[in-house]
Symmetry: C2
DNA sequence: CCTACCGATCGGTAGG
DNA sequence: CCTACCGATCGGTAGG
């Protein structure tokens, strides 16, 4: 058993029981070690949570950077954002579940950094919506409401892994959201 | 301090720290009692969670029944569902937060009942989408995906209480979702 | 509603 | 990676 396997097993447990309700003894049992042996691989329960949340935050941050690098129009950029969210959820469903629901259990220092990354991501996302409105590609009244609605509508995606083909979800969401923003 | 006040205080704490990370000592401090005194009003921590989750489930179930009683067309029914979700979130934001995120910590028996209610609610919701598609009011490919996307898009609403006027949210969501389903 | 207390479980350490 | 163990905290009870 290695560090990577322990963190993946932890993400599985955190997804199904939540961070706080998962004990290090649960995790030890799942990976076939004595509880104390976990600490040869990781320093604390907190550290596992941090690693899961930060690796997801990185994926979104890097995905956003790639999207912003090309000078596409806002419609194509939004399509790429939808793809980013669905593909990330399908590639790492348990980690995304933890990233969605358990980030608030990060310790104070990590929480500040996490929220800084998220704020930057959201700023970039909203800017795309603003550009789409300016160029009359998107229509909406309140930017903040439309933004949180779109983000919220992605959050179930990790649950779809065993139910819906990835491309079907991407197609349906592309149709749904681009239509929602149409004039 | 009465039972009702204790449950509302618990909902507040569960919203901000989660059910598992909230201790009965946290709750006692918040309502100004010794921890053991809570048990004059409630029987267990589980019971509080059950009361919060079930009262929300009731609100949605009863709201759905009222909507189905009138023979409106699917478009108006969907508008009323949007209103039901936003108004319920605005009337009981903490309870809805717990209902959204902590229902999985219900004990086994309550969980079965809870999921039965939810399944029935979802069946009714999906039937409205199906009728809308049949009568060519709504357009979509995959019912399940569009359904979970719409439901998911409501889940942030309780966070909007101190940010957006209720009617603004309802209007924006009506526009967004009805547009998303247009031909 | 309080004082006093219980057994169970928690995250984590010492030492090999 | 294990055995043995720690202090802290958990939900909850007894008795008044």
């Amino acid at each position: 058993m290695n560090r990577e396997g322990i963190i993946l097993a932890a993400a599985d447990l955190f997804e199904s029981k939540g961070y706080s309700a998962t004990s290090m003894r649960d995790l030890a049992e799942k990976v076939g070690l004595m509880p104390s042996s976990l600490y040869s691989h990781i320093n604390s329960k907190q550290e596992i949570l941090k690693e899961i949340c930060m690796s997801c935050a990185d994926l979104f941050t890097k995905g956003m950077e790639e999207i912003l690098m090309k000078a596409d129009d806002p419609e194509l950029q939004l399509q790429k954002l939808i793809m980013l969210h669905i593909e990330t959820a399908y590639d790492h469903p348990s980690s995304i579940a933890v990233f969605n629901d358990d980030w608030r259990h990060l310790n104070e220092k990590d929480l500040v950094y996490f929220q800084k990354m998220r704020t930057q991501y959201e700023k970039n996302f909203k800017e795309i919506l603003i550009q789409g409105k300016k160029s009359h590609k998107f229509s909406f009244q309140n930017l903040e409401i439309v933004f949180v609605t779109i983000l919220s509508s992605f959050k179930w995606a990790y649950k779809g892994v065993d139910k819906f083909p990835k491309n079907l979800v991407i197609d349906e969401l592309n149709h749904f959201i681009l239509n929602a923003l149409k004039y």
